[in-house]
Amino acid sequence: MSGEINEAFLQEKALKVRRSIISMVHRANSGHVGGSLGATDILVALYYHLMNHDPKDPAMADRDRFILSKGHCTPVIYAILADCGYFPEEDLLTFRRPGSHLQGHPYQPKTPGIEASTGTLGLGISTGLGMALAAKLKNQPQYYYIMCGDGEIQEGQAWEAAMFANKYKLNNVIGFVDRNYLQTDGFSEDIMPLDPLAPKWESFGWQVFTIDGHNYGEIIDTVESAKKSDRPVMIIANTIKGKGVTFMENKVEWHGTPPNKDEYDRAMALLT
């Protein structure tokens, strides 16, 4: 919940979440560590400070919604949902295993706390907008936080969604672009340039903020400002892919490669 920022508490949560991400992906021998580590601080700020939510009542009508449009980064959201108590932490041991409710990409019907099924890129943005439109129709007060990857918004659908949100004045939408400049095949500006990114969203009618996505004060203050906007808001959060595990930082190799035993040990030693 909002109020004074407890930096130490958020740092402690982020450390636990990052350790959980490394463990989950190492155990499953499958999954996406880089983007999950990079987005951790934003999700921690949302779930442990900003969002109105209650793990004991996942269907609470006026809860704020979080939609992980960059759906491959399930490790970070699963770690947080488990820590919050949406489901038992032991469930994390089943990530990406047959019979688990923790699918490789978010599956809303099965996982408590997951608001929308996402996976193929671009879809989650539009789904979040549909949810936000419904809230407008029903005069509900909650916010819709939508996390996109920077590579993800190379999808044409992202820009369809950008137009749609502007048309219907969905100022209950607060989006994030996890701007780490890396995607599966390399540096985003080599693969398919996105810069200048802020003017793109602005020209589509969104209010845009650019922040350091690892600075809790900036994340929280910006979201508080975003809530006052009369337009949909996109927060371009500059992040470091692999943040917190130095040998993974800014390395595209850590997009979708699971750490082996040695790498796992080294990563966990760094996350203390």
Binding site: Y107, G122, T127, A134, L137, F164, K167
Partner: protein, 311 residues
């Protein structure tokens, strides 16, 4: 007797209009073809419950998924070819996979879309949607049944694909009455040959049956407005009662009604199944009636197939 001609897409929007009072959470979306899908008539009555997404079929389907997650009942309307091919990923991953309560109102399906040509003639949509788990597919045979199907879909839970045509087709009183999702309509019981149709070509099936009966051939005639889930019982019964089955649909013979029927009888009661439909070819521009002739989707083609089976 003079037949009355009406459009199934008109049945769709008339169904929506009739549902508006009963279902306050129902909303209608379109993608810049409201004048063609006819949803502009709904917009005129309920502007606050209509959302024109512009030429954005992909966004529209995912937005519809989001609306349903918050308890709305969205009907997303566009041409069949756009709903299933252009936005196939969104239909699969945003709607079918999470089993959401989204209804797709797909118009301009089949070869009778006519002049626009193959790019706009959706002859693959049933095949695509049949292969997605959780989907129910309704392909009404006339205006009245289109209205009934729309209402049935709105009142049922889960994702639906509703398939409508462009042109006016005969109103067929034989297929009216209660509409039950998943149930075939047995129009006539017979013992020589079974004819199974879906969609507007029910009129060709009826004509074929009448002509065959006049020649002393007894026809078991079934109309299947639900293509998924298929009414297995009715199909097996048709196979048991007769010497073979002819299917007719305004769709590719790959993945549609005919292949579904063949799949069921091959397991349950093997019998010969001949499939009238688009024979793995793209269509072309022309008037609907010319195209039905050219691509062999007529009563006479059903009769030929029936005689081939009967020898």
């Amino acid at each position: 007797m003079e037949l009355e001609y009406k459009k199934t897409r008109q049945g769709y929007v008339d169904g929506l209009k009739e549902l508006a009072g009963e279902l306050p959470d129902m909303v209608v979306l379109d993608a810049d073809v409201a004048k063609a899908t006819q949803t502009f008539e709904f917009e005129a009555l309920h502007p606050d419950r209509f959302f024109n997404c512009g030429v954005q079929e992909q966004n529209m389907l995912s937005v519809a998924a989001g609306l349903s997650l918050e308890g709305m009942i969205p009907f997303a309307s566009t041409f069949g070819v756009f709903a299933t091919c252009r936005a196939g990923d969104q239909l699969r991953n945003s709607i079918a996979y999470p089993n959401l309560n989204v209804k797709i109102g797909a118009t301009h399906c089949g070869i009778t879309t006519g002049g626009d040509g193959a790019s706009h003639q959706s002859n693959e949509d049933i095949a695509i949607v049949r292969s997605f788990p959780n989907m129910t597919i309704l392909v009404p045979g006339d205006y009245e049944e289109a209205k009934l199907a729309t209402k049935a879909a709105a009142r049922a839970a889960g994702p639906f694909y509703l398939r409508f045509g462009r042109d006016a087709y005969p109103v067929i009183p034989e297929i009216h009455g209660a509409f039950e999702i998943g149930k075939a309509k047995v129009i006539r019981i017979g013992k020589d040959i079974a004819i199974i149709s879906t969609g507007i070509l029910v009129s060709e099936a009826i004509q074929a049956a009448n002509d065959l009966e006049a020649q002393g051939i007894s026809v078991h005639l079934i109309h299947m407005p639900t293509v998924k889930p298929m009414d297995k019982e009715a199909i097996v019964e048709a196979a048991q009662r007769t010497k073979g089955i002819v299917t007719i649909e305004e769709h590719s013979v790959i993945g549609g009604l005919g292949e579904g029927v063949a799949g069921i009888v091959s397991q349950e009661h093997p019998t010969k199944v001949l499939r009238i439909g688009m024979q793995d070819v793209f269509g072309e521009s022309g008037q609907a009636q010319e195209l039905l002739d050219k691509f062999g989707l007529r009563a006479k083609n059903v009769i030929e197939a029936a005689k081939k089976i009967l020898g």
